[in-house]
Amino acid sequence: MKKILLLVLVLIVVVSCGQTPEKKGQFNFKQGTAEVNMRLLDGNPPEKIYPNSQFGLIVELDNQAAYDIINGKIQLVGLDKSFFEVESEEENVDLLLGKNILTPGGEKKFFEFRGQAKSLFQNAEEYRGIYFLKLRYNTALDFVDTICINPSPYGFYDAGCTVNPRKTYSGQGGPFAVTELEEIVIPPNEIEFRIHLRNRGRGQADFLILETAWLGDEPLANCGFLEGKGISRALDLTAEQQEATVICRHTLQETKSYTTSFVARFQYRYEIKQEHSLRLVK
């Protein structure tokens, strides 16, 4: 019994000492995978809708990603107008803030769709209409990391930093993420970066654009998507292809190893889709 108590005490001490207090204002939201949560409010629409009655559909958007969404649009797709007519089948989402210092919980907004139910077919008992709720928006992805570059990997021992030729990442706070960064030195003084990106969210990305890429304070001009045509900084994605690889080549000025920052910023269009149904009963 005494041994168990001692063990518990030790565990408590170890766990407590392992924790570092969180400094306010310095939490990095741009990590992991997070996205916009979309749901219908309970009771809107109601579980049963009666013929020739009005109903409302309230969509809650909760941006849990670390990036704002802009130029968004919510759409109701697939409703049979013979049974359900909605005043407007789309609503614009101009801006929905992501998680940041000012809005650590992200921003939440509600969008209402008003509808009118029509009659059932003859003396049918009920009708169930399936429809899709789609949210499309533009958002960004910021990738920043500190890396070690050694222009002479086959040279004599260098007392500088250690190169990690392949680094993996869990995400940057959005649904689309940089998952891997490879460094390949091409002697005498070139380096190639391969940035692997993947969709980690529940939705689907339409297109991806590499806005900027920097190595320290030098812009990486020679970058392009491997899957694209030529050296293109834009790539159209399909349902089957939700991954991409960016290749950047750069001429190094230094001869000795050094650490520097690698920064890349992407823009992409993302869509999330949910299936719902409306039930018209007698």
Binding site: Q75, V77, G78, L79, D80, K81, S82, F83, K118, S119, L120, F121, Q122, N123, A124, E125, E126, Y127, R128, G129, I130, Y131, F132, T238, A239, K273, E275, R279
Partner: protein, 663 residues
């Protein structure tokens, strides 16, 4: 020295003696029900004698000569088989396999949902008790109690259903855990073994018809694989067979047959028209069974694919040409068996000219485009318009003259839930058979034989009298008719308009469209007749594209679904769900005459046919807003074909009227 003949005589005597053993044992025991035990003793005695006498002797004289060469192998096989049979019966798994197998066959014939559910519950209980050795039994018992208390409700949402069963599972685990602790049979955590009961529950639901029902939950297209598993796989018998603990010749052979059977069924499948049932009401066990039965009714029963496979296997050995090879043979057998089942169901007797005509018609239907338009029953309409004539021959007089004034009573029932205004005309007739002359019939003078009816329900008894002063005498066929004029039955169909899109854009929308438009056929309530129709590029395509090289067609036929006759078609027309007619922006014309197909009146229906094709038409134009749609958007539209017709119900029965014998 004992001669060979003496030896054989001794063996025969022994055999005869042993054959009498079971009866004697049963007599001694005084209970015929202990015959099984007696049988077992008998077999054991056989085996013992056989071993005792050595391999050169045979306890089965008939096998003696040919088993000699094989070293007594067949003799051992027979003994092992006999012994195996006895041992198998003692195994609960095997016993339950036999019982559930019989039950499955009987239920297929009887088709009673109550019995199906009851037997399913019994099998589920015994599965947990005997096969799983009481593991999961507490959960199964709780499930049965919950099921009965809940009225057998199975939730529409699979997640909700799982969450409903979860508390039962947790409670069962706790109960088992406490029981283990109290009885010192194990630890509390071993109560988790109760989750094995979920297997029994799953088999119970699948056997009831959950697969059929899942077609609605998940809007699964009904593939031949699913059709086969709904119709041809006997779940409980197979489960019990494969859970039989004993391993012997009989059981292994049956298991082998079971595997072969499943492989043939699932590989071959059934000639399909795959569709889903759009039943969406909250189901109970009865609804699940009904869904299976409805689907079974829609699926042409035909010949068991395993039987077709076996028969064609022998008949097509060596034939490789595509018309006579194995695949063609199986396909033809399946199709012919389906046509045969259809014609028998329609009331035709096999090997008659009418039967042959029916078969030819079904074969022609296969190839005829207009006739191929098919429809399904609209499951959301639970109260269709219906009428029937009923009578009891026991209430008919057997002797008749005009001083008797006894009528022949019959009842006309009409269900008219939509309050249609119908003109109902009732009549009767005495049609003479043989040399007996026919006599016209009349109703009781106080009863109107023709009237307007717009109520929801009619149940009226009529009396039919011969319209003659002469007494009825001889053999007649009493014909009772009710004609309903002005019946309207509407069929609906839904289509997705996508405008002009690329192949990639179309493919991207396909999964959504398949969910939003789960049923590609037209649907109508189960009434006397209906229009089956489709609109689009092909019968099975629910998408309409706006492309210059893609022709949009309107193909329809009128089907007589009742047992009576369609006397006349007053009108058919196309409309939207709210009753508005298709306006001038919809141009649907006949290919040759260029006449509009949106409406037609006063058509004659060939009563010798069950299906009458309507003009095949093309859609040359439709509204612009259905043609110009954004790349990621589509529009849904539902069309209704309304059929107004006159229907004649006609029932008849032979009667024999004896002459009046005056005192």
């Amino acid at each position: 020295m004992v001669t060979k003949g003496e030896k054989e005589g001794a063996i025969d005597a022994d055999f005869t003696e042993a054959a009498k053993a079971p009866e004697r044992t049963a007599e001694k025991q005084g209970d015929s029900g202990k015959n099984a035990e007696a049988q077992e003793k008998w077999f054991k005695k056989l085996a013992k004698h056989n071993v005792g006498r050595g391999s050169s002797d045979s306890y089965f004289p008939t096998f003696q000569k040919w088993t000699k060469a094989s070293g007594g192998y067949a003799k051992d096989l027979a003994v092992a088989g006999g012994q195996g049979t006895v041992n198998s019966i003692k195994d609960p798994g095997f016993f339950l396999f036999i019982f559930s197998g019989f039950a499955h066959i009987i239920l297929k014939l009887v088709q009673n949902s109550t019995w199906e559910i009851l037997l399913g519950v019994i099998f589920m209980f015994f599965f947990a008790w005997l096969i799983m050795e009481r593991q999961g039994l507490i959960l199964v018992i709780f499930f049965i109690i919950w099921y009965v208390l809940k009225g057998g409700v199975v939730f529409h949402d699979p997640l909700a259903m799982a969450l409903s069963i979860l508390p039962l599972l947790l409670f069962a685990i706790c109960v088992r855990g406490v029981f283990n602790l109290v009885s010192q049979q194990g630890g509390f955590l071993q109560g988790a073994n109760e989750s094995v009961g979920l297997l029994a529950i799953a088999i119970f639901l699948v056997d009831l018809g959950l697969i059929a029902f899942l077609t609605e939950w998940l809007h699964l297209p009904l593939s031949p694989l699913l059709e086969a598993s709904i119709y041809y796989i006997p779940w409980w018998p197979l489960v019990f067979l494969f859970r039989t603990r004993r391993e012997n010749l009989v059981i292994n052979f049956l298991k082998f047959l079971g595997i072969v059977y499943i492989v043939i069924i699932l590989t071959f499948g059934i000639a399909p028209t795959a569709y889903t049932s759009s039943k969406s009401a909250l189901p109970g066990a009865e609804e699940i069974v009904k869904a299976k039965q409805e689907l079974r009714e829609k699926l042409p029963p035909g010949e068991n694919p395993a039987v077709s496979s076996f028969k064609c296997l022998w008949g097509t050995l060596g034939k490789v040409d595509t018309e006579n090879n194995y695949e063609a043979c199986v396909k033809k057998r399946q199709e012919d068996s389906q046509f045969k089942a259809f014609c028998i169901k329609e009331g035709y007797t096999e090997d008659t000219p009418a039967f042959g005509q029916c078969m030819d018609e079904r074969r022609k239907l296969k190839d005829d485009l207009a006739r191929q338009a098919t429809g399904i029953v609209d499951p959301t309409i639970k109260e269709p318009t219906w009428a029937e004539i009923k009578f009891d021959v026991n209430n008919f007089p057997k002797i008749y003259d005009d001083s008797n004034l006894l009528g022949f009573p019959f009842e006309l029932s009409i269900k008219n839930p939509r309050r249609q205004t119908l003109t109902v005309t009732v009549n009767c007739n005495f049609k003479g058979t043989g040399s007996t002359p026919s006599v016209a019939g009349k109703l009781d003078e106080g009863q109107q034989n023709s009237f307007l009816f717009s109520d929801t329900l009619l149940s009226q008894t009529y009396f039919c009298f011969p319209n003659t002063k002469e007494p009825l005498k001889g053999d007649y066929k009493l014909e009772l008719t009710a004609r309903l004029d002005g019946v309207t039955t509407k069929s609906r169909i839904t289509r997705a308009f996508i405008g002009d899109k690329t192949v990639a854009q179309r493919d991207a929308l396909l999964p959504e469209i398949n969910r939003v438009v789960p049923i590609v056929e037209s649907q109508a309530p189960p009434e006397f007749a209906r229009i089956n129709f489709w609109l689009g590029h092909s019968k099975t395509d629910r998408i309409i594209e706006s492309k210059p090289y893609k022709l949009t067609l309107f193909v329809a036929n009128v089907e007589n679904r009742g047992t009576g006759k369609i006397v006349a078609i007053d009108d058919y027309h196309l409309e939207f769900l709210d009753g508005t007619l298709l306006d001038s922006s919809w141009n649907i014309i006949e290919a040759i005459s260029q006449q509009s197909c949106k409406q037609s009146t006063n058509l004659l229906f060939d009563s010798s046919q069950k299906i009458m094709p309507l003009k095949t038409c093309k859609v040359t134009d439709y509204p612009e807003d259905l043609k110009e749609l954004p790349p990621d958007d589509f529009d849904i539209a539902t069309f209704v074909a309304s059929l107004t017709y006159d229907y004649l119900l006609n029932v008849s029965t032979p009667i024999s009227i004896k002459p009046v014998i005056l005192p």
